[in-house]
């Protein structure tokens, strides 16, 4: 008899995620170079943004914009940039797997294809995020000085960041799964990154958006993923936590369902029509 231990499906999935995360961490060569380049870009971005915000605060003759001081604003963009720069282009990998037939081969092993991809994504994302946030913090400290962070607010921000990472996986993986139907998913991914740059509040907090734009931004999942955690971290306490978490959970339910349905019908396309 095959010497295996069949656990509950969730326990097995968790194990598969963990195993892929670990092997991805070991395989650092795959993205460490890219990370170093990202550090240089981050430095330039933060420097420019900090100059722009300094000029803006001076022009407005105000010490608070959107509820943030100049120091806090510099840290805000540091957080949002760290979130954005840690993004992993899973869409490209899934797209390739579909086109090269690797997906069909992955189906020959248990554990689930997307589960494996999620494990790898999570590991890479966390490494990139830790690096971007660490390096960004040094830059922010040099440019603007220290910032006071409330521990409860920090905890809220960490939870929101975790949820945001899961949500963004569902979105980006969903884009990659588009390869079942369309020739070009890379332009959809590109579009996604641009829209999230605009509507996520990466450069400017949502509070400073014109009213119409702010309503749109709050209704879409981009802001809760980027503005949400960054703004939470700089809040004086846990206020705003529940509304950010609620939008993330709602988005995750909607996007997650869409992705799952897309994956199922994509697989059907693969197995019924032949990849």
């Amino acid at each position: 008899m095959t010497p295996r231990r069949r656990r509950g499906m969730l326990a097995h999935r968790a194990r598969v995620i963990g195993a892929h995360a670990i092997v991805t961490l070991r395989d650092q060569g795959a993205y460490l170079g890219e990370l170093a380049l990202g550090g240089a870009i981050l430095f330039v971005f933060l420097f420019v943004l900090s100059c722009l915000w300094t000029a803006t605060f001076r022009a407005q003759e105000s010490s608070l914009l959107g509820g943030l001081t100049l120091v806090q604003m510099t840290w805000y963009v540091t957080f949002t940039e760290a979130l954005v720069m840690s993004r992993v282009n899973v869409a490209r990998r899934i797209d390739e797997d579909i086109r090269t037939g690797n997906l069909a081969h992955a189906l020959l092993r248990p554990g689930g294809y997307l589960t494996a991809r999620f494990g790898a994504y999570l590991a890479e994302r966390l490494v990139r995020f830790a690096f971007s946030l660490g390096f960004g913090s040094v830059v922010a400290l040099a440019l603007a000085g220290p910032v006071v962070i409330d521990p409860v607010a920090a905890l809220g921000a960490i939870v929101a960041t975790g949820l945001a990472f899961v949500l963004e996986f569902a979105i980006i993986a969903g884009i990659g799964l588009g390869a079942f139907w369309t020739e070009d998913t890379s332009s959809i991914y590109f579009l996604y990154t641009r829209v999230s740059l605009l509507l996520g509040g990466v450069l400017i907090p949502i509070e400073l958006f014109p009213e119409g734009a702010a309503i749109v931004a709050r209704a879409l999942p981009f802001a809760p993923m980027i503005h949400g955690p960054a703004r939470l971290a700089l809040a004086p306490d846990g206020t705003g936590f529940l509304s950010v978490i609620a939008s993330l959970v709602v988005s995750l339910t909607v996007v997650g369902t869409m992705m799952a349905v897309g994956y199922r019908s994509g697989l059907e396309r693969l197995t019924v029509q032949g990849g």
Partner: protein, 341 residues
Amino acid sequence: MQDAGAAISVRDLTRSFDRPGVPGAGWRRLLPGGTRGAPTVALHPVSFRVERGERVALIGPNGAGKSTTIKLLTGILHPSGGDARVLGRVPWRERTDLAYDIATVFGQKSQLWYHLPARSTFELLRHVYDLDAGVARRRVGELTERLGLRDLLDRPVRTLSLGERMRCELAAALIHSPRLVFLDEPTIGLDVEARQAVRAHVRELNARQGTTIFLTSHDAADIEQVCERVIVMQAGRVAFDGPVSTLRSRYVRGRQIEAHFLVPVDRPVDLPPGASLVDVEPQRWRLEVHEAGAPVGPVVAWLMACGPVVDLTVSDPPMEDVIAAIYRETAGPRVIPGGRP
């Protein structure tokens, strides 16, 4: 219900591609890349049965439907019709459960992490197949021993030669002790020695653990040295199914006799019945005896009478030729009587 005791049982399995009206394909036909045009029939009704512990080769010219058959039997493709059981399961309905009991080795695809030592992939697969640490450690030890991986496991896979990598690849595929192994062209691109190593390991796997072997290959030696039975596919149909030994007698109706003479001998005027001359040099004649099983003795005696024979060889045509002959003969109306050109 089909017999659950067989490793593989296939009945009237068919598969076409791009068939309009495939379930669920409806509106998608309107999209770019959607289904269009007349269907290609990759498999006409195909039936066969493989017992547990058998070693079977599936051969056939390009496009015969071998890979399609493997995809159906591993559950990554749905059939257009018919029925199949693999280890008692319907593959396309129970793909995930089946995955724990079968293994697949593709000569052209690697499942090892390229920049990491093979050991890391083994560790990953241990979790994927939900094995206990102790079980996995014993299994890796065993495979290391048998496949000679001791010095390979801790080197990044990219630094291994193709043959060394293939051995690690085999180990990775076998880590969960599968009961049935599908190999799709496992020796492609390997040198002679590495090919022989792979064949030996596959045979040993079968001998030691009774693992069922189902392989496709274009290399005649893979078939001869690994398998006891061969299924020949031709344009989506089973053209032959039987022991490798019968393959020769069934499709090649001739054996060759080569005689070397001490001195030049004149070209013969008459030939014994059933024999024909293939090639004549003054000191070397090559004859062919038609019809398998036709007695070679009288021909040899006749040769001895023709002149002073110093050396004599009687041989079957090489497997390569046999396969080529089968492909020609089963391809359709262009059959040459007698089976040889």
